[in-house]
Structures are given as C-alpha cells and as structure tokens.
C-alpha cells in the first residue's frame, strides 16, 4: 500500500527516521556508494556533516570497503558530544576506546540484487535530510506504522492536511484504524506549511 500524507509539520514524523525506514538498494554496494550514488547524498555532506556512521550497530571508519547487504541497518549522525562522540566518530583519535570487536569485514557481494536496508537518521542529519527523504518516500512495516499512528494521533490531528491510501482520500482516524497486517507500507510525506 502507498500512503501519502500532506502535513504542516514534518517534525511530527521525525521519530520514524530515528527508528529507521526501509529503503531498497542494490546489494554489495559500499557504504559510500549506497549513500552517494544510490541515495543521492552530496559527497561533501557525507564527508563533513555525517561524523558518525554505524552499520549494524558498529561504527564505520572505512566507507569504501564496508559493504551494505540485505537487512543491514545503517545509522547516520552529525557530530555529537561526549566521549562517545570522540570514540565513535569516523577515524577519530579515540577510536581505540571502542569495544574490542573485529572490524567490519563483510565480503563484497557482486550480485547487485535488490536488497532492503534500514536507514536511521539522527539529530542534525535527520533535520537536514528529512524533507528530501520524506518526499522521495520509503517503506515502513505496517505494524510499526500503526503503532506510530496510535501513539501520535493527537499530534497528527493538528498537522495532517490530506491523506490518501492507494489514491483514495481518507481521514486520519480511518488511517489509524487501518489494519496493515504483516505488509509494509510505502509512505510519502509532503510538507505543506501554512
């Protein structure tokens, strides 16, 4: 199902980005290829703004030799405070203070089959990229979307202008009551400030 929501406030949907949205990406791309070539991120933005990057919960230093596979969870953050920031940031001096785990050495896949990755965006990166990502659209599990809608219904009532599902208009309360079952939903959010 494809759901489109026109909203006064994209900020009200930010939690979706923190928890992660599903995007399709050819398998075996490097992290840099996935973000720049496939998702269209400005290479300078990746270099300068995205200071911490996790793949499956582990910090990534080498964007060119770390591969994104089907089911990977990729999380992006801007510079952050504290010792964590110093130890987790890419190539940081304090990288020695991380957990002692093997570096990520997933073998490159060459099949280029279409895979699905979960992309999480935090803090300033989420703020910077939300509009483009929301407009382009992403997949989200129906179950999680339903939970989000129920949790946020009061807030969403005040910001949602128009909603459509597979081309048909519907109200927020109808959307909240909709049963998506195990299916994923493709969600597009369009900013329409008053």
């Amino acid at each position: 199902m494809k759901v489109t929501i026109e909203t006064r406030s994209l900020r009200s949907f930010m939690r979706l980005l923190e928890e992660g949205v599903i995007l399709q990406v050819p398998e075996g791309l490097s992290v840099r290829e996935a973000l720049v070539t496939h998702f269209g991120m400005d290479p300078l933005y990746l270099e300068n703004r995205v200071r911490t990057l996790f793949l499956n919960g582990k910090p990534v230093d080498d964007l060119d030799n770390t591969r994104v596979l089907h089911g990977s969870v990729l999380a992006l953050s801007a510079a952050m405070p504290g010792l964590l920031r110093a130890t987790m940031r890419r190539g940081g001096y304090y990288a020695a203070m991380r957990q002692r785990s093997d570096p990520i050495t997933q073998a490159p896949e060459t099949g280029k089959a279409s895979g699905r990755v979960i992309l999480k965006l935090f803090n300033m990166v989420a703020q910077d990229l939300r509009e483009a990502l929301f407009k382009k659209g992403f997949w989200i599990s129906g179950e999680r979307f339903q939970t989000f809608l129920k949790d946020q219904e009061e807030v969403l009532k005040t910001v949602c202008i128009r909603i459509s599902a597979d081309g048909s208009s519907l109200s927020l309360s109808d959307l909240v009551l909709m049963n998506f079952g195990k299916d994923d939903v493709f969600l597009i959010l369009i900013s329409s400030p008053v």
Partner: protein, 580 residues
C-alpha cells in the same frame, strides 16, 4: 578572588566566621582548590559525616570574569558514598557571584553542637549566619522561594533538600539557575550529606554592588574570549547539536552503538529509546513551551545553551530539560519510555536534593530485586517519593545502588568505589570502563571526558588496537579533565577544544591574560596531573588499593547484547593508569 571564608560550625556559641588569605592555595580554583584543601586538611581516615571532614566550595579560576562558559562551581569533601575524595561540580549562578564577591573558597568545618539548621547570607558587606529551623525538611524549591522572599529576587542559592538533611549518600547540593530555580546540582558522591552534616541548609549569595573581575591585560583577555566564543559557535557540537537537542542527543547514538545500559545494565539496547531521545524531547518542549524552549543556558555567560525547559501537557513548568544522564537513569535503565514521568522524577530529585544518576541506578537495582517492575513509571515515582519522605525503604534507596543491592541481595550492581556508573556500558566503550575503574571519584563519566590529549601534548601516539592504548587514552583524558575542572569552564567546551587548536589556545590565552601568566599546554597538563596526584594520595591513605580500581566482576563475565561482548581490559593494565 583573594580570600577564603572559613566557617567553624562547631564553635562555642554557634558557627564562627574566619576570613583568611589564600596562602599556599593561591592560583587554584575549582577542583584544584577543593582537592588541594581536602587532601591537605582532611584526615583521610575520618568519618565523612564527622567533625574532621570539610566541605569546600570553590568557583573556577575564570569564574566571575567576562569569559564565556566560566560558571561552573566545584564542591569537595571526603565522600560518604565512595569513602574517597570527592569533587562534584555544577552550573548555575553561584560561581560567578561568589567569584565577584572575591571568595576563592568557602570551607565549612567542624561539627554542629546540635541539630539547629543554619542559613548563610553573603554579600559585598560581609557574611551573616543565622539559625532557621523553619527550613527543616523543606525541598530545594521551597527553600529558594523562602530565601527570595527574605533576600530579594537577585540572589543565588546553594542548598540541600531533605536528602542532605538526612545525610543520605546520594544527596546532592543544588545551585540556582538564571531563573532562581534549584535545577543545577553538584550531584555525585553524596556531597549534600556532608553539607547537611555541617548543619547548613542554604548559602544565599547576593553580588549586588560588585563588578566583573578585571583581567591583568584586558585587551588580550577580550581578544582571547572573542576567539574562544567564535570557536564554540562554529563547532557543530557546541554550536548546533547541543543547543538544538541538549546532551540527550546522545540517546539514539549510544543506543545504536549497543552501549545504552538498559534495565539495570542487562542489555545495551532499549527498544523505547526514540520515545525519550533528545530529538523527541526537544520537539516536545518546543511544542509545549513554544519555539526556543529546548535551548537555554544554565548561567549568565553560557553561549552553548544545552539546557531547556520542560513543560507538562498544559504548559506548566515541570523542571529544567532533563539531560542525557537523567533521562537514561530514570528512563532506559529502568525500562521507562515516558518523558513526562522522567521529568516528574527529575523534579523530585532536584527538590529532594538527590543525584539523578545514583537514584536512577538505584531504582534499576531495586527493580531487579523485585521492588517494582521494569517499565513501571508510577512505581519508580513512588520509590523516589519514599526517599523524600525518609521512610525506612527510602533511607535504603537514598544511600545509593551499592547499599540497595546489598540490602536486597542483588549481584548486578553497577558501581565502582560505591558510586553508580553513568549512561555508557563499559563493555561497549572499553575506554570508559577504564575511566570508571580508575577514576579517583568512583564511576564517573566526566572524569575522563573529552579534551584532546594530542592537543595537550600528553598523549603521544598509541596503537589503537593494543590494550595499553585504552589505559593511556583514559589517563590523558582524566588529566585533561581535571585541568578543565579547575578553570570553572563547562566541560562542553571540550568539543571545540578537541577539534580546533585555536580554541584551545584561546582558553590558555584567557587564563594568561587574566592572571598575567605564561602558561603553555604542558603546564595545563601538569595542573591536571597535580590534581589527580593529590586525589590519588588521599584515596590511598583512606585505604584504597588497586583492588578498588576494578569494575564489578560481572562486566567481565556477562556478555552484553546486542554485541555480546565483555569488558576485556586486564587488571594489570588498569594498574598502569597512574604510572606517568
């Protein structure tokens, strides 16, 4: 800052005031001052709540000047929680005001003859101490309101709540912020209990009629401050992330790294993290209180503004923005994902005068013991209220996680030297584990924070993959942090200093211009080393051995999900930390 105020609370006829010059303490501020006085004047084997312990308050070296971010105040004593030396610091208004009044330190000494509570009033005309038993059992908010009605709206207060009066080992010392709310706490180590043991409920400071402290070289100082401020503003952490989201911006990151201690350190991931993240918290504050509610400074001269104001659903003030450690301690660590409940607990902590980290860790242990279920916010609130009321259970909880774990037979108690660990699991960030284990303060995340060792020139190059690297990095961070704690500067300047050598140089230039000194980076490192040396020697004399520089055994045995790792730094490596 040319004098020390000493108050003998045990003197015949009531507390007696003595003003002394700085003597051998000249040139010290903040943690350097508190640790120097405690290590020189307090017998290490004394009882922390007895006559021989001293309670020391010291503004930083640059407090009271026009230097941005210079409003931290340190308090020091022998800790009733750890049994070792303690320095805890906070923001708020008192540091700037005390410094402008010329006090480099206040020392409370002796033991009261009876249980009379006193208030101290300090202004440009001098110091006045009066008994005031009407303050007994009052929370910090009510104490401050009473002081405002008595002394006016322009005061700052340093006070204790009921937890301090009851001499609980988790008791904090509250400092008022710009809105005269007691929201900034010298939290760790039970410092509030020591202030309570001296029979002092509140110190009221009025700096009316004073001026900013004047540098020896005003032009150089002004220029250095300009460069310093520009550095803080341009840096993405101090200039963007912290103002926008506060320290709680860390929740999502630490959680993603698998290092977010969840349900009493039994997992490194909390499924409710996004509901209590800095991003969510800031959005909620701005939505309820209007744009800008999530960006606020804790003292005049703060330009980072990592704090904010938390309102309830109806727009009423609840508390200041609960920061990362608090949200973690009362949130993920207890399985709670409700920001309103966490804010309510933060307000109770501030009012009773309890360290939020210690209290959250204690409730986590209590939940593991079965006193409440993980995730039960209402039960957590009720447990904190027990502390405020001083019930039998409350007195156990108010003495921290170690005591609570002992009383209820819990093995998984995340403490070092009796003090609870903060919001980073040492299995995921092993270097933090080294700091927790070896810090003179007990488990303390700020003890080895983030001033760049390579800029300070004390780090050298280390192989990041060898065990010795962990220890050396932690050592350098501890040295650097001790030095910053002496300046009165907020530790969050460290991010700009970390990345921008010119910002670090500007900090040194400010100190040099103010005091007409010629300090170099090495001198800053030496200051940090001398502070740690004082503290370490005190702890040794208090009975600490290498066995106290260890994490609880389960961190080396229990694998932490999701990465399923243990703490791997060996005891032999930990024992090398202070070998410089």
């Amino acid at each position: 800052m040319d004098k020390i105020l000493r108050i003998d609370v045990g003197a015949e006829g009531g507390p007696k005031i003595k003003l002394t010059d700085l003597g051998s303490y000249a040139g010290l501020g903040g943690r350097a001052m508190t640790s120097a006085i405690v290590s020189k004047e307090v017998p290490p084997l004394c009882h922390p709540l007895g006559a021989d312990n001293k309670f020391v308050i010291a503004p930083g070296l640059l407090s009271g000047t026009a230097a941005a971010m210079s409003g931290r105040i340190s308090v020091g004593c022998k800790s009733p929680l750890t049994g070792g030396i303690k320095e805890a610091n906070a923001g708020g208004q008192p540091s700037q005001m005390l410094a402008r009044l010329g006090y480099a330190a206040i020392v409370l000494e002796g033991k009261p003859k009876d249980d009379t509570l006193y208030k101290i009033f300090i202004n440009k005309d001098g110091v006045n101490i009066k008994p005031d038993n009407s303050l007994k059992t009052l929370g910090n908010y009510d104490v401050v309101e009473k002081m405002k009605s008595e002394f006016g709206e322009k005061i700052a207060c340093i006070s204790i709540g009921p937890a301090g009066e009851m001499k609980m080992s988790a008791a904090s010392v509250a400092c008022t912020d710009m809105e005269q709310r007691p929201t900034r706490h010298c939290g760790r180590g039970g410092v509030g209990a020591v202030m309570g043991s001296k029979g002092i409920k509140v110190i009221v400071i009025d700096d009316e009629g004073t001026a900013m402290r004047i540098p020896k070289d005003s032009e150089k100082f002004k220029e250095a401050n300009r460069v310093f401020v520009a550095g803080l503003k341009k840096h993405p952490v101090s200039g963007q992330a912290l103002p926008a989201y506060g320290t709680n911006v860390l929740t999502n990151i630490v959680n993603e790294a698998g290092g977010y201690p969840t349900r009493n350190f039994s997992s490194g991931r909390f499924e409710g993290a996004s509901k209590i993240s800095g991003e969510t918290e800031a959005a909620l504050e701005n939505e309820r209180g209007g744009e800008g509610s999530a960006t606020h400074g804790c003292h005049r001269g703060c330009i980072i503004r990592c704090s904010g104001t938390f309102y309830d659903k109806d727009g009423n003030y609840v508390t200041k923005q609960p920061e990362y450690e608090t949200v973690w301690a009362h949130g993920g660590n207890c399985g709670i994902d409700d920001l309103d409940a966490i804010a309510q607990i933060d307000r109770l902590d501030d009012d009773y005068g309890i360290d939020t980290i210690e209290m959250g860790a204690t409730i986590g242990v209590a939940m593991e013991a079965g006193l409440a279920k993980f995730g039960d916010a209402r039960a957590a609130i009720n447990l904190v209220k027990e502390v405020g009321k001083g019930t039998d259970l409350g007195r156990i909880l108010g003495n921290g996680a170690a005591v609570t774990g002992k009383v209820f037979g819990v093995e998984r108690v995340p403490v070092v030297k009796g003090q609870s660990m903060p919001a980073y699991d040492p299995r995921t960030v092993q270097g933090m584990g080294v700091t927790y284990a070896t810090s003179t303060m007990g488990a303390d995340h700020t003890a080895g924070y983030a001033v760049t060792a390579n800029i300070l020139g004390v780090g050298g190059s280390v192989d990041p993959l060898k065990p010795v690297g962990q220890v050396e990095l932690s050592r350098n961070l501890q040295i650097a942090t001790a030095a910053v704690d002496a300046t009165g500067m907020c530790i969050f300047i460290a991010f700009a200093v970390l990345d921008q050598p010119e910002t670090f140089q500007a900090l040194i230039d400010m100190i040099n211009a103010f005091y007409d000194l010629n300090l170099k980076a090495d001198d800053v490192a030496n200051l940090g080393k001398s502070i740690l040396k004082n503290e370490r020697e005190f702890n040794k004399a208090a009975g600490f051995t290498p066995q106290h520089d260890r994490l609880p055994g389960y961190f080396s045995k229990e694998k932490l999900p999701p990465h399923n790792i243990t703490f791997q730094v060996s005891d032999a490596e930990l024992d090398q930390l202070f070998n410089w």
